[in-house]
């Protein structure tokens, strides 16, 4: 795995230097939280099962970050590096494909986690965010969700010939998920018809799992979410391994 850590560090720097990517990963979720937090506050509310708006939104917005990094950033970045010939240049070195892929994963994982931490800090400082869960459980659920979305992103990056088409495909998948899965809009607000359709979107189990774990659920009520996400991770990783191309 020679070159892995240096590449991961470089990718991290490049991600932070990319203003659009870092805005949507780090700043945009905070802006959403502050905007709607100021409107709805974080008073316990029967509508959210005795929780406040911010208590449900912090884990839900985390799902938005996972979608941003996993689907959009990953697919565009890998497809564009291939289109421009960056991957070709790597291919002419002893760098192993697995080291390249691993460096992408760890970079996006750290960026996603960074976005989540900023979101939590904002919630704590401005809205007295409550946390009733277990840190290890939330972290595990977060990691599983990242794994599923990164696998999806790699498949998109492999199938789409150009950065442009990867971006379009990622947007087409991302926006309906963001609005229908309960990530951007609390699922309590969505009509029943939408919610039954949204059950099939990969972001829905992420929202359900993270909201549940954050607010004190155990794993037992979330077997379906875990199975859905583990299934996506497995199937799409296998597809990604077959569709990945250096050029």
């Amino acid at each position: 795995m020679r070159g892995f850590w240096k590449l991961a560090l470089t990718e991290l720097k490049l991600y932070i230097r990319e203003p659009i990517a870092s805005f949507f990963t780090l700043a945009f979720p905070i802006m959403l939280l502050v905007l709607f937090g100021n409107i709805y506050g974080n008073k316990p509310n029967a509508f959210f099962g005795g929780l406040g708006f911010v208590d449900t939104s912090v884990p839900a917005y985390t799902a938005i970050i996972i979608g941003t990094t996993g689907l959009i950033s990953l697919a565009i970045s890998v497809a564009s590096q291939r289109e421009k010939g960056v991957l070709r240049r790597y291919k002419a070195t002893p760098l192993r494909p697995l080291a390249f892929l691993g460096a992408q994963v760890i970079t996006l994982y750290l960026m996603t986690a960074g976005g989540m931490v900023l979101l939590i800090l904002t919630g704590k400082i401005l809205y007295h965010l409550r946390f009733a869960g277990n840190v290890l459980n939330v972290w595990t659920g977060f990691t599983l969700s990242c794994a599923a979305f990164f696998a999806l992103g790699f498949v998109l990056a492999g199938l789409m010939p150009t950065a442009r088409s990867a971006q379009v495909a990622a947007m087409i998948l991302y926006y309906p998920m963001m609005f229908l899965s309960g990530a951007a809009i609390p699922r309590e607000v969505l009509p029943a018809g939408v919610r039954s359709f949204a059950k099939f979107l990969p972001m829905t189990p992420v929202v359900n799992l993270l909201r549940g774990l954050w607010n004190g659920d155990g794993w037992t009520g979330h077997g379906g979410d875990v199975l859905f996400l583990a299934g996506i991770t497995l199937v799409f990783s296998l597809i990604a391994a077959r569709t990945f191309r250096w050029e």
């Binding site: 490049l14 230097r17 960056v86 291919k91 002419a92």
Partner: protein, 306 residues
């Protein structure tokens, strides 16, 4: 071991669908030489070089590069070679020093990259982003990347394409320095002048086949081409006065200009002597010699460009 050729290919073939991009090419490259593969665009140069680098899988033939087969020992081979590719890029926002630091980390053995930046005149650009570099600076960075693992063999694919003539000349000096440091250089070019000035030996490739392989001097001499002496005079001169000179093959008056063709190395001396003897005032006298461009024309019946 040191007498072993650095590259040995025999019957190399690579086809894309029905098209044979490389169709049975064989040659050897010796240790410490600058070996040039020349030919027009689409002749199979890049396909050949990429089969040697292990970037493409050859369909047939035997390939040995530094004693390894690129098809089987790709990672081990890439440790020992340097490659500047015809089409490649780096992320726009990566800085020059970061790119060198990153690529150095890919290899088991690498050299300090600061001296490389110095030699390539990039020291002032060490903190510049790749996307902000000029074409020539990018090209020099790619050369530095190709040398960061201290390779025994370096591949340059169309290195000087897009460079202005002055930058091209300093690039030639640099490549000679690379060779002087004990490395073998394998390059492709479609500039015949570059091949002639830079390469110890040149392989001419056309339609995926090897058309000729020798030193540039031998290729040109083998052509048996005529040299030309061209000059202008105020009044037309009698072509007959040159026909009797030793080595002259024909004379062509073009208005006030006269072109004397011949095979003798002393052609220009003979022509000047004849003019002086008859007290004919002349100006703009120059000699034109056959070059690799003529070799290519003779081998393929086509101009290199076009």
């Amino acid at each position: 071991m040191s007498d072993q050729p650095v590259i040995r290919i025999s019957g190399l073939r690579k086809t894309y669908g029905d098209l044979a991009a490389v169709d049975g090419v064989s040659f050897e490259v010796r240790r410490g030489e600058i070996f040039g593969l020349v030919g027009p665009n689409g002749a199979g140069k890049t396909t050949t070089i990429e089969c040697l680098e292990g970037l493409r899988q050859a369909d047939g033939g035997e390939i040995q590069v530094l004693g390894l087969d690129p098809r089987r020992d790709g990672p081990a081979l890439r440790e020992k070679i340097g490659a500047q590719l015809q089409e490649s890029a780096l992320p726009d926002r990566i800085r020059v020093w970061e790119a060198l630091d990153l690529f150095a980390s890919f290899y088991a053995h690498s050299v300090p990259w600061e001296p490389l930046l110095e030699q390539l005149g990039l020291s002032e650009k060490r903190n510049a982003a790749f996307g902000k570099l000029s074409g020539g600076q990018k090209q020099r960075l790619f050369i530095a990347l190709a040398l960061v693992n201290d390779p025994a063999l370096v591949f340059f694919d169309e290195l000087s394409t897009g460079l202005d003539p002055q930058a091209r000349r300093s690039m030639w000096d640099f490549i000679r320095a690379v060779r002087s440091a004990g490395k073998t250089v394998f390059l492709t070019t479609h500039y015949m002048e570059e091949a002639e000035r830079l390469c110890d030996r040149v392989a001419v490739i056309d339609h995926g086949r090897l058309a000729a392989l020798d030193t540039p001097e031998n290729l040109i001499r083998g052509l048996g081409a005529e040299n030309r002496v061209v000059f202008s005079t105020e009044a037309p001169v009698d072509p007959g006065m040159f026909r009797a000179l030793p080595g002259v093959t024909r004379v062509e008056p073009v208005g006030e200009r006269t072109i004397v063709y011949g095979r003798d190395d002393r052609l220009v001396v003979e022509v000047v002597n004849a003019l002086s003897l008859d007290r004919i005032k002349f100006r703009d006298l120059r000699t034109e010699q056959a070059d690799l461009e003529d070799v290519f024309l003779a081998l393929t019946g086509r101009e290199m460009r076009g």
